[in-house]
């Protein structure tokens, strides 16, 4: 009936809600989807960097990793030798 919109009416409310929703949507969209986008290192376009954060697990020194790997190799060799010596399967 009235051609002019009532200020502060339902329409404005709807509009406000819409802009708010849009804002939220935009925020949601601009949320980082990777560790790199969040500014914490990680995979880039050409690189697949997987482990760049320090988490709650028990911490080990890099040298321990290398020693662990070498001792693993030795244990595999040892298993072979044992199997060969005893003639059985372990």
């Amino acid at each position: 009936m009235s051609s002019s919109a009532v200020p502060g009416g339902a329409k404005t409310l709807a509009k406000r809600k819409a802009t708010q929703e849009n804002k939220l949507k935009q925020q949601l969209q601009s949320q980082p989807t990777s560790t790199r986008a969040a500014g914490a290192g990680g995979s880039s376009s050409t690189m697949l960097k997987i482990y760049t954060d320090e988490s709650q697990g028990f911490k080990i020194d890099p040298l321990v990793v290398l020693v662990l790997a070498v001792s693993f190799i030795f244990s595999v060799v040892l298993l072979h030798v044992l199997a060969k010596v005893t003639g059985k399967f372990f």
Partner: protein, 66 residues
């Protein structure tokens, strides 16, 4: 027919944009390219030879275990 057009449109557009991009690219000159090939090629082969040398340690180990 319209469906088919739609189906072919995307790849054609993609190829057109792609070839435009490639045409815009700065490509290595022949001299630069030969230098790169030599550098990267020998580097790659050297790395491989070192890796191969490391793997030679396996020969006595395999002799021990097999």
């Amino acid at each position: 027919m319209g469906e088919f057009d739609k189906l072919t449109e995307a790849p054609v557009e993609f190829l057109r944009e792609g070839s435009q991009f490639v045409a815009k690219c700065t490509k290595p000159s022949k001299k630069e390219y030969l230098r790169l090939i030599r550098a990267v090629g020998t580097g790659f082969l050297m790395m491989g030879v070192v890796g191969y040398a490391i793997k030679l340690i396996h020969i006595p180990i395999r002799y021990l275990i097999v």
